[in-house]
Chain length 343, copies 2
């Protein structure tokens, strides 16, 4: 039976993660979960972000379910780099998976778009690019100061994430992969991405392909998001594009994500894209939909696609039944979703 | 009298630039213009992109007005790097100015937004960051291949563009500057940008400031673009954000831009953001609005703010009077704009 590490985290994290657990229990009874206390609260209490011992224990799990970490009192970057990015790199989570759907019952800020019209997934590289920390600074605090950031890209790292994107596209209806980069300016990395893409594409004659510069893709995600099926891109471009995709599908409040090690050599991590929302924490009014959708990604990754599908359907039905703007109770939504997914 | 070099370029470039010239002639009679044949056509004819001799001649002008260069038959990157980026770097055009307004008569793809509600300007750094070409590759076409891109940032380069942003904000009604970066991940460059921003902000107590990560800014440009006044950011983030800003204000068809050397040591360059649109070239149906708005930026830069304002007003009136979807004749629009701006 699957062993899941749960990092409920800060703010609304624990509230929404409770619902995700209910739903997992309902569709896959007997899953073993262990709680790990990480995030702003622990950092304030002990100064620790991710002790080696905890990292080693997490490694023994099949997956990690994370609520949200952070609050305004933690210095920026501490938890992001010390916890989130650390886990992505330590567990070689090279597929950062971010689906965006315009769910029934939700409204896009884009005029005239109807539920169902957007159904895309961004496969963002998660372990390379500008996220490695490479770079430095000289002559700090003088007029001669210079600072660099280095984007590192390997054929190994680029090809494996492109392979994952094509594999996912092959299982979808439209079977289309869009490579997004900036090959006209970032010529060194762009050439590597482009050649790796073409090589993998040649092995998938059944998958339609296209290339777009990141600026054009950012624009088209606003003017015609329907055109995308699977988008594969580097770490930083993926960071930006997935927030646009979330915005046009109703905001990060509904967005789920997975940081995946497809080989399952290491645990993958699943989390709602929203933050800890300290302003509404503890009131039982946070929407658990994104956390529950993240649980669906987790179930799919662990080899339970039917259970995942039931959870997604339950969320779709829940959202479709909502009155826009109406208040909700976190726990009641969780109960409804668990019942619907189990049934 | 001002001396302007005109690079009409390819596709619809010459058509829209003719209208921009008409308008400049109408508001500032006696301007001296010289045509330079650069772009895809010249590249195909002679293999040249930007001969040293031409670069030297361009340097003798007060400004450059550019239509559009490129067509699908030129290998990607040749004209971008050999012409556009080359000019930005050679002429130290460190302020890449990109205003976005939701003009009367135009529709945003965002539901419920009304003309006038978006009025922002992105001050994008134009000579540093990931655009310098720094980087390289090793073991090409082997499984061991690695490719790097380096973002170079200097206190000199960062501070001067931030100063320009604050100066512009000081002349606007809302007086607000948003710094966009990704300081939680790009810590080296992020720290430099942040400290330079704080230093300049301290000299401008009358200007409101805020900081946003680039992913959040990309999202807010979709969900609440009204919140921005002046945005200052690095070269690559600016490339992406300005296309989102253009998208939410009706598309790049109306977007104007300036690559500016504020000290006027070198000529600045003004161009519509749209491309050469080979599909509609030669038919006289291209909208010259973005080219004419670029001419307004040029006039403002050369010290003719009232003339610039008259041109902007003429464009605003023209757009307000249009029937959405109705056909237009490029030359007729140019005639109307010239008459309105002169009057
Ligand atoms: C918190 C931050 C480091 C992170 C990222 O940049 O990847 C976040 O924006 C995300 O998209 O998961
Ligand atoms: C053509 C390209 C090099 C250029 C850029 O990336 O700056 C363009 O996208 C722009 O925004 O002016």
């Amino acid at each position: 039976m699957a062993r899941i590490a749960v990092v409920a985290g800060d703010g609304i994290g624990p509230e929404v993660i409770s619902q995700a657990r209910k739903v997992i229990d309902a569709v896959l009874p007997g899953v073993e979960t262990t709680d790990y206390d990480l995030g702003a609260a622990r950092y304030h209490r002990t100064g620790e972000v991710l002790p080696d011992q905890v990292l080693a224990e997490l490694a023994g799990h099949d997956a990690i379910l994370l609520g949200a970490v952070g609050d305004p009192t933690v210095p920026p970057g501490v938890l992001e780099r010390g916890l989130l990015l650390k886990l992505r790199f330590a567990f070689d989570q090279y597929v950062n998976l971010r689906p965006s759907r315009l769910w029934p019952g939700t409204t896009s800020p884009l005029a005239g778009l109807k539920p169902g019209e957007i159904d895309l997934v961004v496969v963002r590289e998660g372990t390379e690019g500008l996220y490695t920390g490479a770079g430095g600074a000289l002559h700090r605090d003088t007029p001669a100061e210079v600072a660099t950031e280095e984007s590192l890209n390997t054929r190994h790292g680029v090809e494996r994430v492109i392979r994952d994107a094509f594999a996912r596209a092959g299982r979808r209806e439209r079977r289309k992969v869009t490579l997004v980069h900036k090959t006209n300016v970032l010529t060194h990395a762009g050439s590597l991405w482009r050649r790796a893409f073409e090589a993998v594409a040649a092995e998938h004659p059944d998958v339609e392909t296209e290339y777009q510069h990141v600026d054009a893709a950012a624009m088209f995600l606003v003017t015609r998001p329907q055109r995308y099926d699977v988008v594969v891109t580097d770490n930083l471009f993926g960071d930006i594009l997935t927030d646009i995709a979330a915005a046009v599908t109703g905001g990060i409040g509904l967005a789920a994500s997975g940081c995946i090690n497809p080989e399952r050599t290491y645990p993958s991590m699943f989390e709602p894209v929203h933050g800890s929302a300290p302003d509404i924490a503890g009131q039982g009014v946070a929407d658990p939909a994104a956390a529950v959708l993240s649980a669906a990604l987790l179930l799919d990754h662990l080899g339970h696609p039917e259970a995942a599908e039931r959870v997604s359907r339950a969320v779709a039905a829940e959202l479709a039944g909502r009155t826009p703007g109406a208040a909700l109770r976190t726990a009641e939504v969780g109960d409804r979703l668990a019942a619907a997914a189990a049934g």
